[in-house]
């Protein structure tokens, strides 16, 4: 499934990354808990979540961080290298509940978006800075961030 490698010369300031849609549901949160080792019940038990001052279980900040990393690393390709990353959890996101064993109910879809804000050469590295973020179903960016990627150069 490997696609054509992206080169530094192929992109410009303002170039947008292909949007990565994500649906956080209870199933994904439980899988994430198991795979990442974050077993805080705030993310899988509504009753406990309410004692923590939220309306119900909330999406792990680190899961949204992993979506953003997927956005960046998937886009930069095998020969790119992400040297810096940052994200902030500004708004809470509530996962969809399940309709069946593996299908979520209708509801919100999140969009991970990114755009090039700077393009430069740093020593031998051909770099781009990105503005990235996870947008909720209402179009609010609940998880803004940034990244710096080294891309291969044709030069």
């Amino acid at each position: 499934m490997s696609t054509k490698q992206l080169y530094w010369e192929d992109v410009e300031v303002g170039t947008e990354l292909p949007t990565l849609p994500k649906i956080a549901d209870s199933l994904m949160l439980v899988k994430w808990a198991g795979a990442s080792g974050d077993f805080n019940p705030h993310h899988y038990e509504d009753g406990f979540a309410k004692t923590q001052g939220t309306d119900g279980t909330i999406v792990h900040g680190l899961l949204k961080h992993a979506w953003l990393i997927q956005l960046v690393t998937g886009w930069m390709g095998d020969d790119g290298f992400m040297k810096k990353f940052f994200c902030q959890y500004r708004g809470m996101d509530l996962p969809r509940k399940m309709k069946t064993m593996n299908e979520p109910l209708e509801g919100e879809t999140w969009q991970c978006k990114g755009k090039i804000t700077n393009k430069y050469v740093d020593g031998e590295d051909h770099c781009v800075d990105l503005e990235i973020g996870v947008e909720n179903g209402s179009g609010q960016v609940t998880t803004p961030g940034s990244a710096t990627v080294i891309l291969p150069s044709r030069g």
């Binding site: 705030h42 680190l62 992993a66 998937g74 290298f81």
Partner: protein, 161 residues
């Protein structure tokens, strides 16, 4: 808001600059695959042996942000447990993750053994509708060759409930 009026409790100040014992973490192929699957990330560098072998990495790597699982004990984020207990005891029991940043230097490879050394960088008070303590950690990750793989910068927030 008069944030100068809210002070960091003495009990929390003691954590600043504290270095937790390092955690030894193993980066196993299976745990990389499960992590990528949980995220929904189909990148073949994380799961397809043949693809990864032909890539410039020569083998399976982990997605940035995944540093494997501790060799023993619970897989909590490094260094958090002591400070979290401190926050709860000081009345800031509504713990929320604030954010994460990385500086990455080398890829994390399947088969690596990493040593994660966390330190509490600072604790600051923020007054508001909900009073908060904002704590920042820095963790360095070295691999089995002693090379610096990455640094992480983690913000954890305790809210007064």
């Amino acid at each position: 808001m008069a944030s100068e009026e809210l002070k960091v409790p003495e009990a929390l100040l003691q954590y600043i600059g504290k270095v937790d014992p390092p955690t030894v973490k193993e980066v196993e192929k299976g745990s990389i695959r499960r992590y990528a699957e949980a995220v929904g990330d189909p990148n073949p560098l994380y799961s397809d042996e043949e693809h990864a072998r032909k890539s410039r990495y020569g083998g399976i790597i982990a997605p940035p942000g995944f540093f494997g699982w501790p060799k023993s004990g619970m897989p909590a984020a490094e260094g958090l447990i002591g400070l979290m207990t401190g926050l709860i005891e000081a009345g800031y029991a509504g713990i929320l993750d604030g954010g994460m940043a990385y500086e990455c230097y080398l890829p994390v490879r399947a088969g690596d053994t990493l040593v994660a050394s966390p330190m509490v960088k600072d604790v600051t008070a923020k007054a508001g509708k909900t009073n908060m303590m904002i704590t920042r950690f820095e963790t360095t990750y070295l691999n089995q060759n002693g090379d610096l793989v990455a640094r992480s910068f983690h913000t954890l927030i305790g809210r007064q409930l």
